[in-house]
Structure formats: C-alpha cells, structure tokens
Symmetry: C2
Subunit: 198 residues, 2 copies
C-alpha cells in the first residue's frame, strides 16, 4: 500500500513504508499535471481510501482526524478522460527481478479493470521493475489474457518484454503513457501533432 | 464538507456535521451499486481527500492514522464510465428554499467540470432541495451557461425548474440519473430496454 506524501513515521517498529512506490507515483503525478496544464487529458490519482473512527472538531472550519485506518482499494488508483475516452489504470513498482507478483493487485481491482474494458474504457497497468529501472505499459486486454490462460501468481518479466510497451523516463512529460494509448487505440495519431497544430 | 460514514464526534464543540448531505450520498451509492451489479455502468464515489500528518505502525500490516485533516476536493466526487463515455458529477444537498448557493462548489471543481465537458465527457450536477424533497439533474452545459451569463453567487430554484430534470426517488435504482443521460445524450435509447433484451 502506498501512503501519501508527508506521512511522518511515529513510535513502535519504525518500518519505512513511506518510499514504497512513491517514485513511480511522483513521476505519474508530474505526467498527469503536464497533460492537465497542456489541456491534453484530465487524469487524476484518487485519494487513498480511509476509514475514519474519531474526529476532533477544533473549530467549525477545522476538523482533526484522530483515529483512522487505511482501507483496501476497491478500484484502481488513477482514472480520467482522454480524447473523450474513459481511462483507468493501476501503477505499481516491484523489487522482484523475474516477475510481477499478483498479490500487488487486489482481486477487486482486477474485477474493476475487467468491467472498465467491457464497458468500452481504456484500462491498463503501469509496472516498474526497480532493479532494471524499466517501466512497462501493459494493456488491460493483455493483462486479462494472461490471467485467463495462466494459473500463476505472478506475471513473468518476459511477458512484459513480449506484450508490454517500455515507457522511457523523459524530462516532460516524465512517463508519456498517452503516446502508447495513441499507438494502440488511435492508430498512431499522436497528440503532440495535435498540440503543434494549435 | 461531507464526512464519511461512521465518523464519531469527539470532545470540544460537538457540532454534528455528520448528517450533512449524507442522505443524498446514500441514495447515490445505492444507485451506483445497482448500476454496477446489473452491469449497466461503473460509477464510484471517490474517497474523501485527506492530508496525513502522523501514522502509528501497530504491525507491518496495520497502520493507525493519528493525525490528519480533510482537504478541499480539487475534482468532483463521482466519476466512472457509461456506454463507453466518461461520466463526472458533483452531488449536493441544500436547505435553501430559493436557490442553490455556489459556495457549495469550489472553484477547482467548477474548472474540473468545465475541462471534462471540453474533453468530451458527460459532466453534471445533482442538487437536492431538502425542503421540497426535490432532486434535480442539471446538465454541465446548462450549469456552465448559467455561470457565463450571471454574476450571481447562487443558482435560483427557478433555473433548476426550467433547465433541470427531476429525479424521482424510486425503489431501485433510487435516483435513476442514467435515464436522464439516455434522454440527453443517447436520444432516449433507454438502458432498461437493453437489459430486457438480454
């Protein structure tokens, strides 16, 4: 589970989870911000779902949450709109060298992606293998095909090499995943050309 | 601001905000669940955005949030997919009898809705006047037209009567807003007919 920025560790076993997956998340937030300010797409990360148990009302305007817990996400982390189409994806980092363990994605999230694809949306995964510093775009249909044809609890690295698209880290946008979507879903009609025409 | 279910009031000025807007929210959650289980649409409420300041790691699996604050939402509360189209809306209750005060919707949320419409999505408001127990669907384009042509800080009730669509409360789905979308965006080709054909 990824914790939002600014989480301070406190008391007890000080295990530092705070950096887990945060680099990829930061890259994607920058990318989405580039798409937003350049009017290319509107794609946001959803807030982390939390169950709130106790709130202090410091003033009518200010409430302090004193007791709350992280929930399991029932949908993916990112969604939005691009070229009129609904976009939906999950992004994960793995330290594994040979595969992407499927325990990283909850069953609910897989069901959600399956439904999105069925309803005509564009669903996919972005997976970073931190040891190779390689980031892949895996289209939702290829992800679903893998799950249908395999009983394994992980997707081998070779499957990403075969079916995935490499996302090179660039200056701006950091991880240009819409370029891959243009290629797969819009016959390579790249949005950059649209911008330069304006 | 709406607080999620299960919020317990604690210490200091015990102002009960917990019921504000919760009835409409519950109606919409039920409606969205009906759409989901009947495979009509995939539309979810986003989690409430929170800034986390302090976390206790009780165990590697369990983290307790000890200090956090509610954030202003930068997008709307609900989004998803229907008939391949991107759906995005905000839902609000008002106790006002004559108008819907625009302070209920942040500037960021209005900008967000404007962008969604520009990118080809279906954006709208659902507003309930609790005193009349009337719930309106106001299409995003009519909302934007009002803002463009008026300097007022509220939308009069008469504007909802003129431009909005009444959402009757039914047994299931509670507030069938997709029927309105069928009427406006899909030439009245109702999804119920699609279901009965299956």
């Amino acid at each position: 589970m990824n914790y939002p920025n600014g989480v301070k560790l406190h008391k007890q076993k000080q295990i530092n989870y705070s950096n887990r997956g945060m680099v990829l998340e930061a890259d994607l937030n920058e990318t989405n911000n580039y798409y937003l300010v350049n009017d290319i797409a509107v794609i946001h990360k959803k807030p982390t779902p939390i169950t709130i148990k106790k709130v202090d009302y410091i003033s009518p305007q200010k409430a302090k949450i004193k007791d709350a817990y992280f929930q399991k996400a029932s949908t993916t982390d990112y969604n939005g709109i691009y070229r009129g189409k609904y976009i939906d994806f999950e992004a994960k980092e793995t330290k594994d060298k040979n595969c992407f363990p499927l325990r990283n994605i909850h069953e609910h999230q897989i069901d959600h992606l399956r439904k999105i694809i069925k309803h005509g949306g564009i669903g996919f995964l972005i997976v970073r293998f931190v040891n190779y510093n390689k980031t892949f775009f895996l289209d939702g249909k290829d992800f679903m095909n893998f799950l249908k044809n395999n009983k394994r609890k992980s997707i081998p690295y070779s499957y990403f090499n075969e079916k995935g698209y490499i996302l090179e880290i660039k200056y701006n946008p950091r991880l240009d995943y819409l370029k891959i979507i243009d290629e797969i879903y819009f016959k390579g009609e790249y949005y950059e050309e649209k911008i330069s025409k304006n």
